[in-house]
Amino acid sequence: MYPIVLLSVLGIVVLFLGFMKSKSVLLPATLLFLVLALASNFIDWNQGKVLYFYEMLAVNNLTLAFNAIVLVSAFMIVAMTRGFQDQEEAQPAEYYGIMLFSLVGAFMIIGYEHLIMLFVGIEILSVSMYILTGSDKSNLRSNEAALKYFLMGAFATGIMLFGIALLYGATGSFNLTDIQSYVSIQGRGVSYILYAGLLLLLIGMLFKVSAAPFHFWTPDVYDGAPTIFTTFMSTIVKTAGFAAIFRLLSHSFTPIYSFWWITLAAITVLTLLVGNIIAVYQNSFKRMLAYSSISHAGYLLIAVTSLSPQTENAILFYSLAYSIATISAFGVLMLVSKKKALEGQVDESYAAFNGLAAQNPLLAFVLAVSMLSLAGIPLTAGFWGKFFVFGSAVERGLVWMLVVAVLMSAVGIYYYFRAIIAAYLKEGDIGKIRIAPFYRIILVVATAMTILFGLAPGIFEKLL
């Protein structure tokens, strides 16, 4: 609860800081606020389940861990903005403010106990993202992405709301625990209204985490949005979204698992196929990462679908591994494409990395580790993420799904390794790229975390 209150207030503070002449205070202030929020997050640590806000928000170690992942990701991303110094039109204060507010939305959907919280949280998160997507106002691609995201997002919200209304009609409550007791008393005999409501609500949420066939917005929006905000979307929104879906299904709807799992399994497989296969054809690295994020949604959905005792750990670990790797991949992309942009060409394709290793060994290494992690090669965090996810699928006996997933991860090798090959084996002419010290630290830390969690995933357990 504390980070919610804190960031709501501090977000406004950041907006006011924006009135000051000097913009240089914004970045450190925002980072400081994020650290404060992270510290306050752990006040409730090990308190068991605590309910706040008239029992509308639950806090336990799981939600706190998700909050922590979101906060750490946000910290890294904010640090990578470098105060938006190089963009003249940028409104740093607003961007930082909106980012902080959107985190509040993320916390709400991670720990919601009441569907109002879910709805308001998702809206806070989504509306912030609409704005950030369109923040590059004079860029037509950014405009287009924003409008597409907005129209489709609003449409999905409509679907979700109708689902919530139906759920309310069937169960008479918005409270997850009440819904749970209603469902467990009724069992499979619950009314069709509840089934329809659950499905519509799920569809609305699956849209936010870009599961197929509701993924269409993802590539276009990720591609069009400024890269820094793409990073934000693909990590924070995804982590929070999966926490929310997992919470809904594990908390309230386990008694009717036999009803929803087939639908979810079909969506999972479709997501895996669409994400991985289309990614193969991409020439733009950024767009490839968008499809890759769809495919990772597929892997995470495997864990949700199997809903075994391992699932929560699997989702947690996977989100962390995925977020870190994605952030460092985008981090390198931003540096390289900015360098290219200075030379007068916007290049976000694989070819932009050609010859990266020659003069920028650190960047090439960071890129390679993040690609290996996303591809799930051992001794990176991504491997264990996949291992845990697959393990939970085995526990549920979903071996056929595992086969699809492993085959698709073999396809994944193809497009992830292209970046490594470009960086290490191809000839290219990128000069030395200057990296700000703080930026460098973030990249190094992210890479170190990927390797550390890959060497000893047990550390993560110990942290919990």
Partner: protein, 639 residues
């Protein structure tokens, strides 16, 4: 045994990797080779110490737990090393042969601009390989397994800087991934069945199961799929010959001596499970034999010195699997060891030849090299005799043991195995004669350039030649007055297997005279094949036709008065050649078609599927609505 000592074994190569990998731009060339080789040698020295300590302590296997690694729900996976006879033998091969190859590389790769990177990768490979053989559970083994695959990928593609896509490397990686899929599924099935991945725990539980338990059959089949990928068996073998695109020391280390034997290691490690699944063993034996024959027959006609050796490796791996299939686990391990010696020797010798020939690999342009490269020639000769199975060199003992076990198990397998060994002898001597005998057929410049390799390259050759010559004496069978020390040493490994299936480990039923007969037949066969090669390639001095030229027409043959040759050709060579070509086309063409076809399919599919992303918002929402309607319709009306 102290844990810190054990940790050093994989740690040293890792340190070597880090030093060379991070500082490969700054460390002077001389130091790079020394650091890399020292890492391997140090690791070897520690392994020897550990082996001594192990023997002193009464040869009791032990698991040294380093730390608790992961625990997920019921499953807990410690990070621990298992030290027993099997892992020690593998340690000796990996670090011993590995060190020699490191030393060799210091000479071979000296001129290469990626010298530092090369050593870094080589050390990294050693690290993963050591993890693979030392790990005490399937997960560590899998990590090593994937890691060596990755290093192999990096090293195969090492020389291909500018090609858009390195097909060989990619093919190797994809085929290995297909195998890994099987392995991974096998591991998950093991977790599901036994609730653990620790070897000791899994095997302890497995001894309680009946022979032919269906779950175990499934597990072993899945594991075997993994083994076929890594150890290049049918149908996943075509990557190995292609992998010869990498530098020669890599072929020697990874694609002959160590990594490709990982599949055999895995099967021997899981011998309890495999013994419980006779059906799987049958499959293993058949696939092994088929691979041995197929690869040997393809080897008959290859003209690239490394390709011949590559097919020979595939074929020898087939023998090892044949041995596993007839439950001759020790014999298989014996062959792994001797094969590591003579195949590493042959590859390094080939490297020395290629080095002298300034990069030429086609044996049609070699010939008469024995005078210019005396050390290489003698060592190569020893390697050839060893692989051909002529006593008393190493290959004789191990191959003969495999064939004897095959004979006991099934006569047909023995006949096929013998056929394979005849072909082996033929193509190996063909290679030897074409390379080192006759007159030089290369260009003038090459002739001028011919020289013996530097000491850092010949020294490993000599050491390996000694082992190839004498290595067989660690397993002299009883019938020849030996005690078969290796089998005695390894025997405690099969305690569990013996418990579940005592009949399989009964003493041999072959009488001494039968054994003598079998040995006699295989030796004579090998000698005859060698002689045939001598007649064709030295006495008649025939050289395989260049690819551009059509096979000689009948008139030409008469003109050349090679009538006898032609007869011989028609009766013996032609059918084999046709068969070989046929098998080649099956092997290379068909399997590659499937693999490449899948790749292309994915690409085509990708090209088509991405068209669903039309860019039009209306279309997107329409697709979503269709999805929603389908989901609702199916869930609410059809169920």
């Amino acid at each position: 045994m102290s844990a810190s000592l054990l940790v050093l074994i994989p740690l040293l190569p890792l340190i070597g990797f880090l030093i060379n990998g991070i500082g490969f731009r700054r460390i002077p060339r001389g130091a790079v080779g020394i650091i890399g080789s020292l890492a391997a040698l140090g690791s070897f020295a520690v392994s020897v110490v550990v082996l001594m300590a192990f023997k002193e302590a009464g040869s009791t296997p032990q698991v040294v737990s380093l730390f608790d690694w992961i625990s997920v729900g019921e499953l807990s996976i410690p990070f621990s090393f298992q030290i027993d006879q099997l892992s020690l033998l593998m340690l000796m091969i990996v670090t011993g042969v590995g060190s020699l190859i490191h030393v060799y590389s210091a000479g071979y790769m000296k001129e290469d601009e990626g010298f530092g990177k090369f050593f870094a990768f080589l050390n990294l490979f050693l690290f993963f390989m050591l993890l693979l053989v030392m790990g005490s559970n399937y997960v560590i083994m899998f990590i090593g397994w994937e890691g060596v695959g990755l290093c192999s990928y990096l090293l195969i593609g090492f020389w291909n800087k500018n090609t858009d896509y390195n097909n060989a490397a990619r093919k190797a990686f994809i085929m290995n991934r297909i195998g890994d899929l099987g392995f991974l599924l096998g591991i998950f099935t093991i977790i599901g069945t036994f609730g653990s991945v620790e070897f000791t725990e899994v095997f302890r539980q497995a001894t309680g199961l009946p022979v032919g338990d269906p779950v175990v059959v499934v597990i072993t089949l899945l594991l075997f799929v993994g083994a076929t990928g890594k150890s290049a068996q049918i149908p996943l073998f075509t990557w190995l010959p292609d992998a010869m695109a990498g530098p020669t020391p890599v072929s020697a280390l990874i694609h002959a001596a160590t990594m490709v034997t990982a599949g055999i290691y895995m099967v021997i490690r899981s011998n309890v499970l495999f013994t419980l699944a006779p059906a799987t063993l049958e499959v293993v034996a058949i696939i092994g034999t088929a691979t041995a024959l197929l690869a040997a027959s393809i080897g008959l006609l290859q003209n690239d010195i490394k390709k011949v050796l590559a097919y020979s490796t595939v074929s020898q791996l087939g023998y090892m699997f044949l041995a596993l299939g007839v439950m001759a686990y020790s014999a298989s391990m014996f062959h792994v060891i001797t094969h590591a010696f003579f195949k590493a020797l042959l590859f390094l010798g080939a490297g020395s030849v290629i080095h002298a020939m300034s990069g030429e690999q086609d044996i049609r342009f070699m010939g008469g090299l024995r005078k210019k490269l005396p050390i290489t020639f003698i060592t190569f000769l020893i390697g050839t005799i060893a692989i051909a199975g002529i006593p008393p060199f190493a290959g004789f003992f191990s191959k003969d043991e495999i064939l004897a076990h095959a004979f006991e198990h099934n006569k047909v397998l023995w006949v096929l195995g013998l056929l394979g060994s005849i072909m082996t002898s033929f193509y190996m001597f063909r290679l030897l004669f074409l390379t080192f005998f006759g007159s030089f057929r290369g260009t003038h410049e090459q002739a001028h350039h011919l020289h013996e390799s530097p000491t850092s390259m010949t020294l490993p050759l000599i050491v390996l030649a000694v082992f190839s010559a004498l290595g067989g004496f660690m397993g002299v069978p009883e019938v020849l007055g030996g005690t078969h020390q290796l089998a005695t040493f390894m025997s405690p490994l099969y305690e569990g297997a013996r418990q579940v299936n005592p009949a399989a480990f009964a003493a041999t039923t072959l009488s001494h005279s039968e054994e003598y007969l079998l040995m006699g037949i295989s030796v004579v066969a090998a000698l005859v094949a060698a002689l045939a090669a001598y007649v064709v390639y030295v006495r008649r001095d025939s050289v395989p036709a260049p690819e551009t030229q059509e096979r000689p027409a009948l008139q030409r043959v008469i003109y050349h008065k090679y009538y006898i040759d032609e007869l011989y050709d028609a009766v013996f060579v032609k059918p084999i050649r046709t068969l070989s070509a046929l098998l080649f086309s099956f092997g290379e063409f068909f399997i590659d078609l499937v693999v490449n076809g899948t790749g292309t399919l994915v690409k085509v599919l990708s090209g088509q599927l991405r068209r669903t992303q039309t860019g039009s918002t209306g279309y997107y929402i329409f697709a979503m609505v269709v999805g929603i309607v389908l989901i609702l319709f199916w869930n609410l009306l059809l169920r």
